[in-house]
Symmetry: C2
């Protein structure tokens, strides 16, 4: 009846990059897993902060005035409205937390915009 | 200017059990680290879900009608209003996510009630 959500087991179910998968909801927030490799697009989320916890590998979150590198076991919260871009030279796996309905490309749109509510 | 939050480094800063430490905020939510060992108290949070991600060790979340065991890399969201108790036979380290202001003992109170906004 009560089942744990195993992150590794969920991560094994998809291989594509930049397409977050929802694994759990908490109130009106969603936990999402994502695999990143290469460079995303500059964008901002005008209405919400966005949290990243790296599970494997390494990613960079760059801002117009600096950057942060996250490795496995490191967390960062991108402030609401702050323009940013994510990059990973090799595949990085991360857990994202943000409100339900947030579009991955924020205000930027484009062909990296992922489906909403893609549960695994 | 932008610094990652390293979970292991934060966990090394405290040793006591059942006393969550805030490490980050996202909108009106807080990420907290906690070390659990032994048994907590039966309680519920009437207004909010509560998420647990185990980082090290193993814990049980028991309900009146079942239980779930969480190991490192496993996530569970306790539904709003659901009475539960947490237990760990050996020390378990977990990341908790819940709204700012949530009291760890919920509606139960008692001497395991921890300080609010205990940042590390």
């Amino acid at each position: 009846m009560y089942q744990p959500i195993n992150l590794a087991e969920k991560l094994a179910r998809f291989q594509d990059h930049w397409a977050p998968r929802v694994i759990a909801e908490m109130n009106d927030y969603q936990f999402k897993l994502v695999k990143l490799e290469g460079e995303f697009v500059w964008h901002a989320h005008e209405d919400t902060d966005e949290a990243f916890l790296v599970l494997r590998g390494e990613m960079e979150i760059a801002f117009r005035d600096g950057a942060v590198t996250l490795r496995a076991g490191e967390l960062f919260v991108v402030p609401k409205g702050r323009e940013h871009i994510t990059r990973a030279t090799a595949e990085c796996q991360a857990l994202i937390l943000e409100p339900r309905g947030v579009v991955n490309t924020g205000d930027a749109g484009g062909n990296l915009t992922a489906a909403q509510d893609a549960w695994i």
